[in-house]
Subunit: 201 residues, 2 copies
DNA sequence: GGGCTTGTCTACCGAGTGGTAGACGTGCAT
DNA sequence: ATGCACGTCTACCACTCGGTAGACAAGCCC
């Protein structure tokens, strides 16, 4: 009916698809569901993305780009090692607050195998390199405990993503979880946790 | 054809279902697939578990029981704070080594919402209480950095489960991952990470 | 030997999935 | 005015899924 034009539709579909994939998982989400949430029929969605897999790839790329921008922006003007680390964590938590399905989508991307996550990390590759150099420099300067920087980066990733995605576990363990206040408490906890993991002995 | 008897079949089905749910996710795994992997037809599976959901619940309970036994056994005879913590991590990593889909299944359980994970943690409840008391005692004794013990337990959970389930991410970040040697290296890294997170300032 | 429970099967169904074929209308370029 | 690419739709297909109905066979109890 109304021709909303191409690029806007595309963006809306990707955003909704990330929500759906994050909430229901790749297999659990259906094209019908995603399309009608945007107000169009499934066949129109398939006009933009010829297959479900193509839609997923577009989502992965968009997600990578988004998180890349967010982190890059957060890093601007930060000087000390600790300011930088904290800024990144804060940026990711902020993204999760405004877009709760986002971390779940990233985790789902990891579940789908190497091809999937590589599409995502590909858009972040420069950041990854930068992060590893950052950690290595910190170790050389004696500001960070000496260890394998890549594995440390991985541990930091799991700590942040885990504390964002395992909310139901948190609920079962802590007994209370809902709401923004809890998210902020978790952020403080992650920050403290990471800080003490980075500090040299 | 051959009547293999009840309880053994049941166990085999649960074990295979945990594998399938862990690998493909709840939605992605099909009853047909699970049944024929055990050598029977789907309808026979439905004789043991009337619905897919019933099968899932049985898996959750079994998984909880298994991990509970594993940890309880690992804790026997451990005395110091650090021995205990390390023993638990080692036990979980050992379980993951012999049964790679197990951590993935636990994570999937968390994704399915509160009802799911509670079925699982229900079987571990005593251990949870024990762990929190343990952490609290450690803090009181000045052996562990002071903080909210429940949140700390949650952080430990995400660190361990994350480092076991996000293998594809690790691969993308580190560049190499396969094999038993890598799992052991990751275990050492988690142990070091946790240790430094626990140490009081 | 005859019923009864237990286990396994074949056959089938309704719903939902990802994807194809193609009609139709609107606006821009010529 | 006409042609054509773009966007959206209806109709449909092949397939898979979870689940039902019911036949059937083997062991057990009496």
């Amino acid at each position: 009916m109304a021709r909303t034009g191409g690029e806007k539709r595309r963006h809306a579909l990707i955003e909704e698809a990330i929500r759906a994939f994050g909430r229901e998982g790749y297999n659990g989400a259906s094209l019908d569901q995603i399309a009608s949430a945007v107000g169009i029929r499934k066949q129109t969605l398939l006009y933009y993305f010829p297959t479900k897999d193509a839609l997923l790839e577009a989502c992965l790329q968009a997600a990578g780009q988004r998180v890349g921008e967010e982190i890059t922006e957060a890093l601007e003007g930060r000087e000390t090692y600790w300011e930088k680390a904290e800024a990144v964590i804060h940026a990711v938590f902020g993204l999760a607050e405004e877009w709760p399905e986002f971390p779940m989508f990233v985790r789902e991307a990891g579940r789908l195998g190497a091809e999937g996550i590589e599409r995502f990390t590909g858009a972040i590759e420069p950041l990854r390199v930068r992060a590893i150099e950052f950690l290595q420099a910190g170790m050389d300067a004696g500001e960070i405990r000496k260890q394998d920087p890549a594995l440390l980066l991985f541990m930091l990733y799991t700590a942040v993503v885990g504390s964002l995605t395992e909310a139901s576990v948190l609920n079962a363990v802590v007994g209370e979880d809902k709401g923004r206040a809890s998210l902020h408490r978790r952020e403080r906890e992650v920050v403290a946790f990471v800080r003490s993991a980075l500090v040299p002995t």
